[in-house]
């Protein structure tokens, strides 16, 4: 491959089959943003049913086939399919590919001073596994049997009986393969490809976050892959890994040998899916570290604490999974164990958040657009995290489990938490990607409207959950105790619609700025890390001069230096 292979004069296929980590990173970013929009639109359709149960969906109701929505009113099965696919798409096709595949691929090799990833062709393969898995997942809506209907958690026996699950499982196997290849690549790259002088203690926190994330993906995903294969066997070869003896469905005895255990799936699933929560979160925390250090113009508070906490989270993430199963049937001794580990894992998370808050103290803060997103992450993640504590305690969890409270809790972590931080990352690294800046006015509109709407969508859910309204119900009016808090669904749905509208400035800004944004120099934020020590956009091979690292990642406001920052590769004579 020659050295200008991604210049704009090259034909289309060079973008889709390039092994350059920057091209692959951008492909991941844009694909993930599109999937996020898809997942969001599925939710908008669901929200209509929740706000106005049993009334025809406007506009869309006329287009949908009568099997999905007779007379424009969605069927319970279609509602279930939308819910399952919303969760799956947002987690596996949206946030993770954006945080890991997108930002990780583009920024990590730059920040460690590498020419490319360790295995460039494997990197391309992992993107193609991701894309084919994603397209297969989306196409399940139009395949016979429809989309999966058993929630993103796919609990058996329902998941084995319901139609649509087979395609979900095949797509998951592709997505898992993609993540595994990516994780291997990230770990080898960050261990073996660092520039001279880039000691582990000088790695930017973003890189540490990616390392811990890759470690989680590498070791937590194979159990789900195995579990998915077993579920696939249950569906295709009619085995009974997850089916108990004498199962009766709709009054009919289910024809299968039995002898399996439905709870086994829950254990295997959450053994992946709890670490997956940190896969959603850690890259966002890495981005927040970079933005905060850069915009407070002072070293991040407690580098060692943050890195140590991230590693602690990475280890503890493997021993908390069954707190998702407190009411699934588990001995009290086991519950106590998982209760204690869950309380322990909140300590490093709080340590990281506290370090971020202390980083702000005494800083001369620049309220740039990315900084607004990073700042909003702090209280939003705080709310998400603190509302999680009652769910980790068995006594309160028994009441709150499977209510809207839990939906509010994890959405606060992922949406105004992770997603806001990832959006901030887009504004922060956009000048590196395209050599142009995104418009600040539009960016601030996007930020304030999104922040307000996200709270408008998710805060009512806490109230509904505390009042006992169950999640997963197709018709909130079906249970008497849900009726008083049903009007809050109208509030949530209205804000969800507004949230959709407030993404329009972002979409316009993104594409407009690629070609017409204000031109910037190589390092518009005066940042210290190596991703800003190369041209914007970086050429193939990234760096135009040999890189040697002399400093830690956040040398801001040094005493007696001509600028208020020292780049990591800048040699300063003492």
């Amino acid at each position: 491959m020659n050295h200008d292979s991604h210049s704009s004069s090259k034909p289309f296929y060079h973008y889709f089959f390039s092994t350059d980590h920057k091209v692959i990173g951008l492909l991941y970013t844009i694909t993930a943003l599109v999937f996020l929009l898809c997942g969001f639109m599925l939710m908008l359709v669901m929200r209509w049913q929740l706000a106005f149960p049993g009334s025809p969906i406007p506009l869309l109701g006329r287009i949908l086939s009568p099997s999905l929505a007779p007379n424009g009113v969605m069927t319970p099965n279609f509602y279930n399919a939308l819910g399952a696919m919303h969760g799956t798409i947002m987690v596996f096709l949206g946030i993770v590919p954006l945080g890991v595949g997108g930002f990780g691929n583009y920024v990590l090799p730059l920040q460690i001073g590498a020419e490319d990833m360790a295995f460039p062709r494997l990197n391309l393969a992992s993107y193609w596994f991701f894309l084919s898995g994603g397209l297969l997942m989306l196409s399940s809506f139009i395949l016979p049997g429809g989309a999966a209907q058993s929630g993103w958690t796919s609990y058996p026996p329902l998941a084995i009986i319901n139609p649509g699950q087979t395609v979900w499982l095949f797509a998951m196997v592709l997505l898992i393969t993609s993540s595994l290849l990516g994780a291997i690549n990230f770990l080898v790259t960050s261990l073996n490809m660092r520039a001279a002088g880039m000691k582990l203690s000088r790695l930017p926190i973003f890189v540490w976050a990616q390392i811990v994330t890759a470690f989680l993906l590498l070791l937590a995903f194979p159990p789900l892959e195995a579990a998915s294969v077993l579920q696939l066997m249950d569906r295709i070869a009619h085995t009974s890994f997850y089916l108990p003896q004498g199962l009766v469905i709709l009054g009919m005895r289910h024809i299968a040998s039995g002898g399996g255990q439905p709870l086994l799936w829950q254990h295997l699933f959450w053994f992946l899916a709890h670490p997956e929560v940190y896969v959603l979160l850690l890259p966002a925390m890495g981005i927040v570290s970079e933005i905060i250090a850069n915009n407070t113009r002072k070293p991040i508070h407690g580098y060692n604490v943050i890195v140590g906490s991230m590693i602690a989270i990475g280890l503890l993430a493997f021993v908390v999974w069954a707190h998702h199963m407190f009411i699934s049937g588990m001995s009290a001794v086991l519950s106590d164990f998982f209760l204690v580990t869950t309380m322990i894992i909140s300590v490093p998370s709080v340590a990281i958040l506290t370090s971020f808050v202390f980083s702000l103290r005494g800083g001369s803060i620049r309220f740039t657009t990315p900084m607004l997103f990073a700042l909003a992450f702090l209280p939003m993640f705080g709310i998400g995290g603190l509302t999680g504590l009652p769910l980790g305690l068995t006594v309160t969890d028994i009441y709150l489990h499977d209510t809207y409270y839990i939906i509010g809790h994890f959405h606060y972590i992922v949406v105004p938490g992770s997603l806001l931080a990832l959006m901030g990352g887009v504004y922060y690294w956009f000048p590196k990607w395209f050599g142009r800046k995104m418009n600040d006015t539009l960016g601030q509109w996007h930020f304030w409207t999104s922040l307000i709407c996200m709270n408008g969508v998710f805060f009512p859910m806490f109230i509904q959950g505390l009042a006992g309204q169950d999640r997963r119900y197709y018709d909130p009016m079906a249970a008497l105790h849900s009726v008083p808090t049903q009007p809050l669904h109208v509030v949530s749905s209205a804000f969800a619609g507004l949230l959709f509208l407030s993404q329009i400035p972002f979409i316009y800004n993104f594409f407009h700025s690629i070609w017409h944004g204000e031109k910037t120099d190589d390092n518009p934020w005066q940042a210290t890390t190596l991703d800003w020590a190369c041209p914007s956009p970086p050429p193939h091979g990234n760096f135009t001069k040999p890189i040697r690292v002399y400093h830690g990642p956040y040398e801001y406001s040094p005493v007696g230096h001509k600028t208020d920052w020292i780049a990591q590769n800048e040699e300063v004579l003492a």
Binding site: L230, S240, L268
Partner: protein
Amino acid sequence: MSGTAAVLTHQPGESTGVTNAKLGIWLFLASEIMLFSTLFTTYIVLRIGAASWPRGWNVLNVPLGMINTFVLITSSVTMVMAYAKAHERDLKGFQRYISLTILLAFAFLVIKGFEWGAHFRHNEFPSTSIFHAVYFTLTGLHGLHVIGGIIVNSTLLYLSRTDFEHPLFVGRVEGAGLYWHFVDIVWIFLFPALYLL
């Protein structure tokens, strides 16, 4: 890949002391260990929870399983020999031993095929009982890994005609060897767990 990158990647990384390829293959094996650990855990959980569990030797053909164990162990030895020959830059020797490894892998699959065929003729399928579900799924997934090994080793055999002197070639053989030993070890656990316990 640019010319400079290829030169760099056959040198060990400064902090780890191993090449990218070797580090990568070990990480891949770590994930494979998690995969098969999950399957063995499933086996243990289901067996403990089962009302009755047949003795392996009453249901399965122990002599054939035993022969297959020896076939795989022998193929591990020939794989090591192939690596040694690649290290010595002995093309003919390498091709001889890697071909032997591939043949032994095929022999394993053929014997396995006879075993499965006999089960099918006796109307024993994965859906017959939870024991059969475990047996067919675990040996099936292991079989897929054997097929993967055949593909990798055949590719190396094919590439050796042109790329034998390539600086990365020995490393590739070593990576394939590590993988093949792993496939072997999985069987060493599978055989007693399914046939002898």
